[in-house]
Amino acid sequence: MKPLRSLKVLDLTDGNPYIGSMFADYGAEVLKIETPGMGDSIRRRGASRDGEEGIYQAYYHRGKKSMTLNLCDARGQEILKRLLPAYDMLAVNCSEAKMAELGLSYEEVKAVNPKMVYGVLTPFGEEGPWKDLPDYDLLVMARTGLLEKTGMPEKPTKFGFPLGYLYSSWHLTAGMLAAYLKAQKTGVGQKVSTSTWHVMMELDDTFAECLLGMNTLPKRLGNGFPTTNPTDTFKCLDGWFSLSIGSDAQWIAFAKTAGREDWASDPRYAHDPARSMENYFGDLDGQLKEFFAGITIAEADRICREAMVPGGPCNTVRELVTDEQVADRKMLIHVEDRHLGDTLQLGKPAKFSYDDADVNEIASAPSLGENNAQILAELGISEQESEALKTDGVI
């Protein structure tokens, strides 16, 4: 039993699959509306040649349906309006003003379906001097402070995945689900909106320092963390290992288990402030680097487990595929894709007590426009009309 099995979503997003995926993974019927010919731009990510599709869209669009519709054409807009009554939610990743140009503002949608939850994700919000800046995860992140704060002191580090889009998409989906919960009681939907920039700002705990009006704000600390010391990532004989000590007791347990009574008894390191930021890249950090450089990841892991302190190897997909914890949590699953066949994909992080054996059975990502015929038939549009729409590039 999947918790969203009664939910129907019209997904008008492009280049950001995370909104639709949150719903689709938990059982909702998600119909992607894609541009005829091109389709969602994410289809081409990682493609080796122009005009082809990459492999990633098999993951990004799993469990969704696809219909092509040209929303710049009045007939396309008309068909979309006819779809509205059968759906609970509509999601876009552009401003409502842009949707209004297509005759699909919230007011216009609401007039057709008052229960509709209308979700809007923008990069910077729908007002303000930055509202028209280009929409790229990296560009938004550059303006939040988080990018500047991530990495070693000498330079910021880019994230290898669109962290800003993940956060803001999941914020939006939570808000949309909340509005849907309410609409089930009241019969009235809402417009729910957020921006990637606003979401990332709310998450920055540098804010707490700003409350104090501090003149010196946190610096880039690499893999350090200002309130739990030492926290850092060390190079062992065979790879990288992260340690994160959260208390004086944990520090002493770690030092003793590591066979370093000298650390445990050294009054300079007994209490956290002395292990903290000022010393971060200093003496103790240097000693730890030397210590870990002489042992294997397995040995480091054993010490941390025995001492019951937070520590663990820096895994990549190479380790994840054989990791017992990952297997137990079913975080890697097989999805049969129409074009690629068997694919290895990420599992679903939320485990519900009513999950059935089929919880990880997820339908293949759709081919572009795969559900056109079925949807048009449901709307009572004849085959002849459909052909004309196709010829005119409306579908």
Binding site: P3, L4, Y56, Y59, F124, G128, W130, Y136, L139, A142, R143, G145, E148, T150, T157, K158, F159, G160, F161, L163, S168, H171, A174, G175, A178, Q184, Q190, V192, S193, H198, M201, E202, D204, F207, A208, C210, M214, N223, F225, T228, S242, L243, S244, R305, P310, T316, V317, R318, L320, V321, D328, R329, M331, T343, L344, Q345, L346, G347, A350, S353
Partner: protein, 404 residues
């Protein structure tokens, strides 16, 4: 303290909140912002451990304050039978229970899902933990940095031959909170339809694995292991972070036209005809060389100058802003990122407005963060305790209101 006005999409919803620190607290923060009444159950005498995290103003942790606005605090001893009885009364009225105790602790306390669902079958019970509620790592401690390491989150960032890199904030905590918040509302939707709640189990390491969505696909399709790609994109060049005279700038030239415009703006017209950079595939092959040539110019330019000149030529670009510049920007000001709110012990201070808007309206901030046990009496009364019963609970040191 008088009954607080609750408005918003979760108006009328009640959340029984046992969470501490950050990841779990983040979920109740979202519930509270959106109008739910959040009863934060805090440990007798000391409260949420985040109350001890610096920096402090007038003895109050500003981190705690930022994470706990709009909530109510009841201080109690959960190990006492009388304390458990209070929880059972609260559960009758609650819609959601949130907890991030060490694995299994809440069951041993007699407050686990199996017990609470007997009292209220509609309850949606969310357990949050580092590794989730099963598996060989279940019992081990896990902080943000360790979830980042084990999940592949850190392994996805940084130079291929350098250290894996976690995020500059405790982002595995808050990303997990955001995900689990979705799951909690899904549970509520189902409970409203069927009358039956559920238990939801979310592990921080599982959520943080989302970082590996593409590299898992690579491995499954080709058997190849790709990990970190440095400060530049894997499939498009130039697309990344470049050094400026006074910091850093992001430059994205994701079409041929934009690449040529970039060359013109930077005064590097010869690159347009250089075979090493003739198309995107060539630029990817020679990405490091290209970055060198670009940085030779950008190092002499101010970050804002890079942004403005490139945007004017339709090349997506941005200076990399330190947080304080983002926070004090005109954009932050006109889009109501923060709001001045009264905070006990401190006075009027700025809090973030929730980034969600409902019908274009901000979710109102009703109050700052509660002092320890500030709402003990009010919550007890609202679940049916008389003044005499409340006095006895105080006398027996089951509940308190230390107001730290």
């Amino acid at each position: 303290m008088s009954e607080l006005e609750t408005k918003g999409v979760f108006d009328g919803l009640k959340v029984l909140d046992f969470t501490i620190a950050l990841a779990g607290v983040y979920i109740s923060w979202q519930f509270a912002d959106l109008g739910a009444e959040v009863w934060k159950v805090e440990r007798y005498g000391s409260g949420d451990q985040a109350r001890a995290w610096d920096p402090f103003v007038n003895g109050l942790s500003t981190l705690y304050t930022a994470y706990n606005k709009n909530k109510k605090s009841i201080e109690m001893d959960l190990s006492s039978q009388a304390g458990k009885e209070v929880i059972y009364e609260m559960v009758k009225q609650a819609d959601v229970v949130l907890e991030n105790f060490k694995s299994g602790s809440i069951d041993r306390l007699g407050l686990g899902y199996d017990k609470l669902k007997e009292i209220n079958p509609k309850i949606v019970f969310v357990s949050l933990s580092g590794f989730g509620g099963s598996g060989p790592l279940q019992k081990y401690p896990c902080y943000d940095a360790i979830a980042a390491a084990r999940s592949g989150f850190a392994g996805s960032n940084g130079e291929p031959d350098g250290a894996p890199m976690k995020a500059g904030n405790a982002n595995c905590d808050t990303l997990t909170g955001t995900y689990a918040f979705n799951a909690a509302v899904m549970g509520l939707i189902e409970a409203q339809r069927t009358g039956t709640g559920c238990r939801i189990d979310v592990g921080m390491t599982d959520v943080a694995m989302t970082a590996c969505g593409e590299t898992v696909m690579d491995y499954g399709q080709t058997g190849e292991v790709y990990t970190r790609f440095g400060n530049h994109d894997r499939f498009v060049a130039p697309y990344g972070i470049f050094e400026a005279r006074d910091g850093w700038a992001v430059i994205i030239a994701d079409t041929q036209k934009r690449f040529e415009a970039l060359c013109d703006v930077l005064g590097l017209p010869e690159l347009k005809t250089d075979e090493q950079f003739s198309d995107n595939a060539a630029r990817i092959r020679n990405r490091d060389l290209l970055a060198e040539k670009i940085e030779a110019v950008t190092r002499g330019m101010f970050r804002r100058e890079i942004e403005q000149k490139l945007l004017a030529a339709d090349v997506p670009a941005s200076e990399v802003l330190p947080f304080i510049e983002a926070y004090t920007s005109e954009h932050a000001n006109v889009t109501n990122v923060t709001e001045m709110v009264w905070q006990e012990k401190i006075g009027n201070i700025r809090f973030y407005n929730n980034p969600l808007r409902f019908d274009d309206q901000i979710c109102p901030i009703r109050r700052g963060a509660p002092l320890l046990g500030q709402d003990t009496d009010e919550i007890l009364k609202s679940v049916g305790y008389s003044d005499e019963e409340i006095k006895k609970l105080y006398d027996d040191e089951v509940v308190a209101s230390h107001l730290y």
